[in-house]
Amino acid sequence: MNRAEAEDFLYREARMLDEGRLADWYALTTDDIEYWVPINRDDADPRQHVSIVYDDGPRLRARIWRSAESGFNHSQDPQSETVRIVSNVEVEPAAATGEVTVHCALLLCEYRPGSARRDAVPRTFAARCRYRLRPAGGDWKIAYKKVSLLAMDGALPAMTFVL
């Protein structure tokens, strides 16, 4: 995978999430996905330390079910619109398994249109992301995604959209 291919993949993923196509996005992940949004900077073992998100496949599926299908995602009523800007893409040489580690920076703007709360303003979240992508039938799947928010250890509002 070269940088242009990595960018194509990340842009496609970003647009999927911005458009709320969560089932498509879930299909882009491996069964053994590790999806991690840490809450501290020192990479504490996420099994022994709480995170903002630390999902395996079933937990991620439940999260997506709630967002996309349950009809009861109160803190997403009305639902957020997002715009993701992906940049600073770097691709590490492929591992022996064929998996590739990709780094990028993410700027995510979130807004809840149609909110009765007239003071609702767009919010901006910056993050560094690390992916491990696995070759899958001519395409790639996300085996690992870590989103390290700039303000990970600061006071955060409810964030129930998928990062």
Binding site: V37, I39, N40, A44, R47, Q48, H49, V50, S51, I52, V53, Y54, P58, R59, R61, A62, R63, W65, R66, S70, F72, N73, H74, S75, D77, A116, R117, D153, G154, A155, L156, P157, A158, M159, T160, L163
Partner: protein, 421 residues
């Protein structure tokens, strides 16, 4: 003019929404509640070594909680006695002293002023003018590792203040065979646009989970870790008003399966009876005015303004237990809580919706009352005089406003509140 009887009527279980939006009431709350009563500041596991410190707040007052070389814990106002700058900038750490970086005045771990730069430029009479040292909060006391501070030099002891909450704090500490839990494993920090009392009331509110959180048990089932649906209304879950604003919701019938090796460890350490008490069911307790505790986490509620609040939720780990026990606790806690959890974000959303609704009290023609009267007439008294009712009865929320009413009325006539404004 603030008339407390027009704001909170405990005997009817109703509250005027002005208590969420009125800046004058907020100032009075700081003075009569946060700057008077016992406020939680730290857990001893955060201050193990001499020189360890953490910063936190009592109301709007920034404070440093420090352990000095002799092991004594001090709660000091984080404010240089010279020009008022904060002298400590970090959430936690270890220090030999605290130095104001503006003019390099230096303070010891007990707050004493130990260094004035270029002191020869001061006449002794000039030095005598200012308060030498960081101001210490008048009283500091701890119970089972929980450190509280009070700006009031006199008043009830911490033990008296905690009262009926103490047996539960004993159980909480007994969850570890060492007899002491530790605040390790991470801290979530939230802010919401709403009054601080919304989180105090909302920390053990037994009427809402069946509705607001009904999806979280469905999600748990989908994620393959399902304990199924907890039948809130049909259960034996009780709410208790423990006095002084403290309350608990407890689920004696909600027996969480525990690993046999963990149970054996606890029984060896504490004896069968104490171990059984610690492991019997689950509960969530609110300690008025700024603390909530469950078996897996501790929540600190910090008012920022009348309509803005910050909440720190620290994970609680158990020393001396098999690693799988703590891993299970982390995963369980994380499922529901945090900014992206399956439950907590919905609570924050409700707090913000309530704050939005409360703006309506600016129109004095509208009905300002909200209701906490569910099951008020069904309250009974427990063996220690505590008020007991089903957890869905809002008895826990009435506890908050009974204490609020008493504290806001204490020590001053209504007219004196009006005069000061």
């Amino acid at each position: 003019m603030i008339d407390i009887d027009e704001l909170v009527q405990p005997e009817r279980g109703r509250v005027n929404m002005r208590v969420y939006v009125d800046e004058d009431i907020f100032r009075e709350e700081l003075r009569r509640i946060f700057y008077t009563t016992w406020v939680y500041v730290a857990h001893e596991s955060e201050l193990r070594q001499p020189g360890d410190y953490k910063t936190t707040y009592i109301g709007l007052v920034p404070v440093i909680v420090s352990r000095d070389a002799g092991g004594t814990v001090h709660v000091l106002v984080n404010r240089c006695s010279h020009r008022g700058a904060t002298v400590c900038q970090h959430e936690s750490g270890n220090a030999k002293s605290f130095r104001c970086e503006y003019h390099a005045w230096t303070y010891a771990l007990d707050g004493g002023l130990i260094g004035i730069s270029r002191q020869s430029g001061y006449a002794p009479e000039e030095v005598a003018e200012f308060n030498a040292g960081l101001q210490a909060v008048a009283r500091v006391a701890s119970y089972r590792g929980l450190i509280f501070a009070s700006f009031a030099a006199d008043g009830t002891s911490l033990e008296e203040h905690l009262g009926g909450a103490r047996p539960y704090l004993d159980e909480w500490s007994d969850l570890s065979p060492t007899g002491s839990v530790v605040l390790e494993g991470g801290t979530w920090k939230h802010t919401y646009n709403g009054n601080w009392k919304l989180q105090v009331e909302g920390s053990n509110e037994g009427y809402h989970p069946e509705f607001l959180h009904r999806m979280s048990s469905a999600m748990r089932n989908k994620a393959g870790s399902g304990a199924g649906h907890y039948p809130w209304a049909e259960s034996d879950a009780r709410g208790l008003d423990l006095g002084n604003g403290h309350s608990i919701m407890e689920f004696p019938d909600n027996r969480v399966p525990q690993a046999p090796d963990y149970v054996a460890l606890l029984e060896r350490a504490h004896g069968k009876e104490r171990a059984a008490r610690a492991l019997n069911g689950s509960w969530r307790m609110a300690i008025f005015p700024n603390l909530a505790i469950s078996q897996a986490n501790l929540r600190i509620i910090r008012p920022l303004a009348v309509d803005r609040t910050e909440v720190w939720q620290q994970h609680v780990a158990l020393p001396g237990v098999p690693p799988a026990v703590n891993i299970g606790r982390v995963r369980g806690d994380e499922f529901f809580y945090g900014p992206s959890g399956a439950g907590a974000p919905d609570d924050l959303e409700m707090f913000e919706r309530i704050q939005e609704g409360a703006r309506s009290v600016s129109n004095a023609e509208l009905d300002p009352w909200i209701w906490f009267n569910r099951g008020l007439r069904g309250e009974t008294r427990g063996s220690n005089g505590e008020r007991v009712a089903h957890t869905t009865s809002e008895v826990e929320q009435r506890a908050v406003y009974r204490a609020w009413y008493a504290l806001m009325n204490a020590g001053a006539s209504k007219s004196s509140i009006a005069e000061r404004r």
